[in-house]
């Protein structure tokens, strides 16, 4: 298994290089640093000197790939690609436009993001799976049909509606919790409840329906008939046979997103004023802070690849037939 993991990690490197090259092309080749400077400084009446100054301030005043003016090894290192893109491999993300270290921002903002994302993920998973099991238990009855219909309606509603509607109903009308804000520690509880509840409700439709399909696929198999023939009750068939065998497809979709929880959710965090990575990204997008967006893209794909490796490991935990070699 160790050998397999090492191979997987080695395989991740070319993918990260690909991501890196893609973002480099997107941010520096599609538009030259001159274009970006002009954009940041205002399109009209901008002097070449101002552009040069802006580029120097942000470290964009170097050649893209090869610096012909520099000495031997600096030919490669004293370039935009080396300093802005390649440096991300050692998690050195540089500085945002307001001069702060992006790496430090990421570390401090991970906490609030996790405080929202982790409970949403865990409560949601338990709730969706139970709801799907309930629908499976009552399959092909009016209850099941009503459940599926509810899911279809819920998944047709825009995610923005859940947030705006929830804030209005719970905070403005009933005054149960503050509309937005964040505090660390135990004080934070009242700020966390609403985003978590809304996050869970927002996912019911698509997730429960998806789990229901998985369970229904399993329930038609031979081992279920055998279990019933043994005289097991429908409930114990569901929990000790169907649920266990449905673990592989469930894990495939679930484990991948665990590392991405660090990134937080763009919408939730910006609506609820959570100082996490999601709102950091949104602010960067609105302020057109390209270095932050670039760092987030790289971090996101890094976490996604970690998630893929975790998925493989989780298979061995739930299914003894899977051996990683």
């Amino acid at each position: 298994m160790i050998a397999y993991l090492i191979r997987r990690i080695l395989y991740a490197i070319p993918i990260l290089i690909g991501v890196n090259l893609l973002t480099f092309a997107l941010f520096f080749v599609v538009n030259t640093p001159d274009d970006m400077a002009r954009m940041q400084l205002g399109v009209k009446r901008v002097t070449p000197e101002a552009i040069e100054k802006w580029k120097q301030q942000h470290g964009y005043d170097k050649p893209l790939l090869i610096n012909k003016m520099a000495d031997s090894s600096a030919k490669l290192t004293d370039t935009i690609f080396w300093q802005k893109s390649a440096s991300m491999f050692v998690l050195d993300f540089g500085f945002s436009d307001d001069g702060r270290s992006i790496s430090r921002e990421i570390v401090t903002r991970m906490g609030p993001s996790m405080a929202i994302a982790l409970p949403t993920f865990l409560i949601g998973l338990i709730f969706y799976v139970s709801f799907a099991l309930l629908m499976t238990l009552f399959r092909a009855t009016a209850l099941d049909i009503a459940g599926v219909a509810l899911c279809v309606v819920l998944m047709s509603v825009s995610g923005l509606f859940y947030i705006i509607g929830g804030q209005f109903l719970i905070s403005k009308l009933w005054h149960l919790v503050p509309i937005s804000g964040y505090a660390g520690g135990a004080d934070g509880f009242k700020f966390v409840v609403l985003p978590v509840v809304i996050g869970v409700i927002g996912g019911i439709g698509s997730s429960s329906r998806w789990y229901r399909t998985i369970f229904l696929e399993e329930i038609g198999k031979d081992y279920v008939r055998t279990a019933r023939a043994k005289g097991l009750s429908e409930l114990s068939v569901l929990f000790s046979h169907v649920l266990k065998n449905a673990m592989i497809p469930i894990l495939t979709g679930v484990v991948v997103v665990i590392p991405l929880l660090f990134m937080g959710s763009l919408l939730t965090e910006s609506f609820f004023g959570i100082p996490g990575l999601g709102s950091y990204t949104i602010d960067a997008i609105n302020a057109q802070d390209f270095s932050v967006v670039r760092a987030m893209v790289f971090l996101g794909s890094l976490l996604y690849i970690v998630g893929l490796i975790l998925t493989d490991i989780s298979y061995t935990l739930v299914d003894p037939r899977v051996r990683l070699q």
Binding site: L26, L267, N286, S301, Y304
Partner: protein, 457 residues
């Protein structure tokens, strides 16, 4: 009034899609085995009701796609000068809605503005009153207008139902057996008829009221919310459909090629889609849209009108959404092709010396079509929802373009006002819900009809 037709980029792509759709319909109609799953779709009442709703949305979207520019009255040096404002046939049809702008917010069906204003009355005293709206009818006429509109709508709907129900029956021979089938099928279609009549009545009522009142109120700058909602439909539909123009060829060619040729072709294609799918899609879209904004802003001379600039941004957004969303379908197609190429009939074709290109086009492609169709209809609703979120985040359509996202974005702070302004948000969300729900239900019916794994009895 003279005018010049304008074909924006998105219009051209919509016409291309329509032509492709018409071609496909013509081809499918000639092949009985291709028609069979569609017959199953047609048997489902839910599918037909949602198709009806979808085609209404489509009609509005299509009318809104025929653009033109009006000629201005004063000519310069004998040359006709056209107004910089790009209008559509739909704008012309609902001209009262577009032109009846008030000063600021007003509630649905209101007679007055929502806030008090200082007005000097006849005696010269300054009083605080709710000023009457500029464009509104008589208070007492609401009921009569609603009823006459609904009746006219019902009548038109009834006529339509009669037309459709009498049309296919004429071709059937008059046997007793056939008669029974006809009676059974008409009994099955009752829900469809009822829903059609309800929708027709609602539309008639809305049309008759909207010509005088602001049925859904007005927004901050006094624009009619119903007009904004109807205009948003085109943007949503374009995002949902034009994106497939990018997704489909990429996913189809790369996925099938990877699965069929295997070896290094497979490795390269797998590498490309793993790289693309490893970036969280919102971030990739945000990055690409930011870059596109820079390009558009630094080249203002590319566009002759504001509409063409907003339109090009919409097309680019579709392109970017397509570039980020083809990987899932590509993976599915690769897997299916890997399975198909081991089947006997493919091996038979290979041993007969049929060329790879021919095997791909004659044997593999037709057998993965159902996957493509299911994926396309399933993606549509997700894309419509994504547009609203992206526009809210600031990486969606141009802020000047009317869309569900920009409507919600503009109205999100209005819930905090006193008195509360809820109608713009409610209208945007309800239109979106109806569109997406209809699309989801239709997609489910299509999937049920086309998926070979479904066991039918």
């Amino acid at each position: 009034m003279s005018f010049t037709p304008v074909i924006l980029w998105s219009d051209a792509l919509v016409f291309l899609l329509l032509a492709a759709g018409a071609l496909m319909t013509w081809y499918v109609r000639r092949q009985e085995y291709l028609l069979l799953p569609w017959r199953r779709v047609a048997k489902s009442n839910v599918a037909m009701v949602s198709l009806l709703v979808l085609s209404l949305f489509l009609l509005v979207g299509m009318l809104d796609t025929l653009h033109y520019r009006v000629a201005l009255k004063d000519k310069s040096a004998g040359q006709t000068v056209y107004s910089p404002e790009v209008l559509s046939v739909f704008d012309k049809l609902v001209e009262p809605l577009r032109l009846h702008t008030e000063k600021t917010y007003s509630a649905p069906m209101a007679m007055t503005l929502y806030a008090k204003e200082s007005v000097t009355d006849a005696q010269g005293n300054v009083v605080r009153v709710y000023p009457k709206l500029q464009y509104t009818g008589d208070d007492g006429q609401v009921m009569s207008r609603a009823v006459t509109g609904a009746l006219a709508g019902l009548l038109a709907g009834g006529g339509l139902v009669w037309l459709f129900s009498s049309f296919p029956r004429r071709r059937e021979s008059s046997g007793i057996e056939n008669h029974r089938v006809a009676v059974q099928s008409s009994a099955r279609q009752w829900p469809l008829v009822i829903v059609t009549l309800i929708i027709a009545g609602l539309i008639g009522m809305t049309i008759n009221l909207a010509s005088v009142y602001h049925v859904l109120g007005t927004d901050k700058v006094g624009q009619d919310v119903l007009y904004l909602s109807l205009k948003s439909i085109r943007t949503g539909l374009i995002i949902g459909t034009v994106t497939t123009l990018v997704t489909l060829p990429l996913a189809l060619f790369l996925g099938v090629a990877a699965g069929y040729f295997r070896g290094w072709v497979d490795d390269v294609i797998q590498y490309v889609y793993t790289v693309l799918s490893s970036i969280p899609s919102v971030l990739l879209i945000a990055a690409a849209v930011l870059m596109m904004q820079v390009t558009i802003d630094t080249h203002p001379n590319w566009f002759d009108t504001a509409a063409s600039r907003a339109d090009l941004r919409l097309v680019f957004l579709c392109l970017i959404l397509g570039m980020t969303s083809w990987t899932g379908l590509c993976r599915l197609l690769r897997g299916e092709t890997l399975k198909l190429r081991e089947l006997e009939y493919i091996q038979a074709a290979q041993s007969f010396g049929v060329s790879s290109l021919r095997i791909l086009s004659r044997h593999i492609m037709p057998n993965v079509m159902h996957i493509i169709l299911i994926a396309l209809v399933m993606d549509f609703s997700g894309l419509v929802l994504a547009e609203a979120v992206l526009s809210y985040v600031g990486v969606g359509v141009d802020p000047s373009m009317i869309s569900f996202g920009t409507m919600i974005n503009g109205a999100r702070l209005e819930m905090a006002r006193e008195p509360m302004v809820w109608w713009a948000l409610a209208a945007a969300f309800s239109f979106m819900l109806v569109l997406v729900l209809a699309a989801n239900l239709f997609a489910d019916a299509v999937r049920d009809a086309f998926d070979p794994r479904m066991n039918r009895t």
